[in-house]
Amino acid sequence: MNMLALLRCEWRRLWVRPFAWWLAAVVIAGMAWELVLMLGPFLAQQSTLLASGANIGYTDLVLLPWLALFVIAVVLMTPLVTMSTLAGERRGGTLPLLFASGLSPAGIVLGKYLAALGWLLLVLLALVAMVLVLSLSGSPDWGKLGATLLGLVLLMAMLAAIGVACSAWAAHPALAAASALVVTLALMLVDRSSLQQGVIQDAAHWLALPTHLQPMGRGLVSSADIAWFVIVTALALALAIHRVGQEKDRD
């Protein structure tokens, strides 16, 4: 129950922070603009596509590439949303107050994590609303869209966990954001060199984020990919909980 109280408090703090609104507004407006830009060429070529009989529609040509762009936005936005969760609390001297209200380290981390994740999911919801509006004038491939959205939700959950973990370990929110971005980029690029050498089945490839995200972007959902996201998320949260637990022993 205490954790839910912290979750509510965090939500309230996010709601009244101009930065969070500004960030969400920029991302949503940018994505809406991109969607309009991508729809233009598609509409211009629609009759040609129909005449050629190609089994490809606006899900493949517009929506999936558009949602792939959103991955970049998520990678950049998440560290900014999560950077203050624990590092800001520590700097403001309010972390001891949370301990003094009987919250466990796990309660503190989960309350903050769920609040940040909830905010990210709201942004995703705005994008889903755009897709739903488009679906009124066409029939998207719901299977592919569902798989892609699942991938995005798992990505957000994982990046939020990494962001909270970095915030737990960093002394300053800016450091937390930078380190979360570095960890994310490392996960995205870890298999780059082995891919260049033509190796696609090594440990680096398994560790790489695109290995598990890209299949979902093509409509393929496998339990191994979901498990990878769950493992990385759980690991990041465990590290954050461990670090917050040490806070009571710090000088």
Partner: protein, 255 residues
């Protein structure tokens, strides 16, 4: 007037026949050195304990441990007979803490702050609304309720911090320099508040540098010096002499 604040909640399950707070050989390392050494202390309901000491004596560290914000390196803290280190969740119902310089969330208003703290301490529904409204009234924060915390003066912030510590009617109240930034009238109100809390069966640990504040409200005085308890006795008329003697003697010894 303030009796509503101190009414015990029915579900609190406070045991009446054991001391509210017991410290048994409590120690704490800080920056590689022993900040608090084997502290033994007992506090019963109805008592106000003044915790004195020069800067760096270990007062804030001790209060942090009593509030559950710091873990002792050694020893036990029993809160209402239960091991506080093993059960840190006891803090939710049993402890109210005002740290030095009242840390607050700057983006929230005063009213939002109180609501958030009330929820964190388990208050819900009507009980939450009543507690917040009464606390705003009691600490004269009504006019500030919609003001953002970062726009408050130090005295106002201190009162908000105090309201947050008192909201859930904790039996044990821990106050670290609560008079910081308060004007004389507010300081007098604070003394009344502390006395009322003790009169209603609560206990208070008060850390301050102001000896008149101690003589006005405390029954007992404990003096810490270099992390050790040098004095623990009922309030004495010659408190300032005792304090100066301990500070000087042990500083000279250390030199």
């Amino acid at each position: 007037m303030l009796s509503w604040i101190w009414g015990r909640r029915q579900n609190r399950q406070v045991t009446e026949n054991v001391p509210l707070l017991q410290l048994q050989h409590v120690g704490r390392l800080r920056a590689g050195r022993q900040a608090v050494h084997g502290l033994d202390l007992t506090l019963d309901r109805g008592q106000v304990l003044g915790l004195l000491g020069v800067n760096g004596a270990g007062k804030s560290t001790t209060l942090g441990m009593l509030a559950g914000a710091l873990r002792p390196s050694s020893g036990r803290i029993l809160l209402d007979g239960r091991d506080f280190v093993e059960q840190p969740e006891l803090a939710r119902d049993l402890v109210g803490w005002l740290p030095e310089r009242a840390p607050l969330w700057p983006e929230l208003t005063v009213a939002e702050h109180l609501t958030a703290h009330a929820r964190l301490h388990g208050l819900r529904g009507q009980a939450l609304r009543t507690a917040c409204t009464s606390m705003l009234e009691c600490l004269q924060l009504g006019d500030l309720r919609r003001r953002l915390v970062h726009a408050l003066s130090q005295g106002q912030r201190q009162r908000v911090g105090l309201a947050c510590a008192l909201l859930h009617k904790p039996p044990l109240l821990i106050l670290d320099e609560p008079g910081n930034g308060l004007d004389p009238v507010q300081a007098a109100d604070l003394r009344t508040l502390i006395r009322d809390h003790a009169a209603d069966g609560g206990a208070v640990v008060l850390s301050t540098h102001l000896l008149p504040e101690v003589t006005a409200v405390c029954d007992r005085v404990a003096i810490l010096h270099e992390g050790r308890l040098r004095h623990d006795a009922p309030l004495d008329d010659d408190l300032s002499k005792v304090f100066m003697s301990i500070a000087t003697t042990h500083t000279v010894e250390a030199a």
